[in-house]
Symmetry: C2
Subunit: 132 residues, 2 copies
DNA sequence: CTTATTGCAAAACGTTTGCAGGTTT
DNA sequence: AAACCTGCAAACGTTTTGCAATAAG
């Protein structure tokens, strides 16, 4: 893989925008530092960075892909109220338990819990209490 | 929700094609019993069935959505060799452990392990042994 | 009679790709 | 010089939508 200004910028943005940005968000912020950058290039570079194992792809059902600079396997909580995506630690024991001794070979893991983040859970609880 | 022949057929197909069919697969097999059926109607009905909680949507990264008649939360193993999707039991303890006491509110759970199913894992192991 | 549902076709969406020209090594 | 990488625009595959017509209650 050859050096390119655009790829380096994309990688930097995935690391800086650490709240799991989408390709579109990466494109918008990178465009300021590299006028003329194209969205296709952002997609191409994200793909090669994922393939090279320097970035992880985070798939959330019904949403555009997001990208993550945290490399070890972990899960995500997607908040349906504020749209935030937060990390969930996931040890390899958790996966081993899920497999329950099956002779399968796992190379990757995509776990997304859907619901309310701590902030939104607290706020909706408060609102419900106020109504009563 | 009103009765409709098309919706009933879609539900029946999700149950019959129990290997997690895509909308396209449901459409193709349902078309034989209901000529003139349209793909848009299949999508619309799958969405209302999911919303009504009668069917579950299974999202696998980079693939069209699949549909599942098994309602309780569970995970999936997607085999990159043969394309099969198999269920993985997942008890609520597993999720509780992941959340590690966080005060969040989880309404749904999407877990996909990517790798090789038992059959393909065995075959690739055998092929590797034969090469040696 | 009212309103949900349909088939159809067009559009939306996120993403990929072909190409001609520019960069990196 | 040989790859690789880029911007652009067109195409892709999946899914949604607007519409006028049909079917259900």
């Amino acid at each position: 893989m050859r050096y390119s200004k655009q790829r380096e910028l994309v990688l930097q943005k995935v690391r800086a925008l650490c709240d799991h940005p989408t390709a579109e968000e990466i494109y918008r912020t990178a465009l300021r530092e590299c006028p003329g950058l194209s969205l296709g290039t952002v997609y191409r570079n994200l793909n090669s960075l994922v393939e090279a194992g320097r970035v992880r792809r985070v798939s959330i059902p019904g949403q555009p892909d997001r990208f993550d600079h945290t490399l070890p396997w972990h899960g995500h909580l997607y908040c349906t109220r504020c749209g935030s995506v937060t990390d969930l630690a996931m040890d390899s024991d958790a996966i081993r338990r899920l497999l329950a001794g099956r002779r399968v070979q796992v190379t990757d893991c995509a776990l997304t819990l859907i619901g309310l983040c701590e902030g939104c859970a607290a706020e909706t609880a408060a609102a419900a209490a106020a109504t009563v």
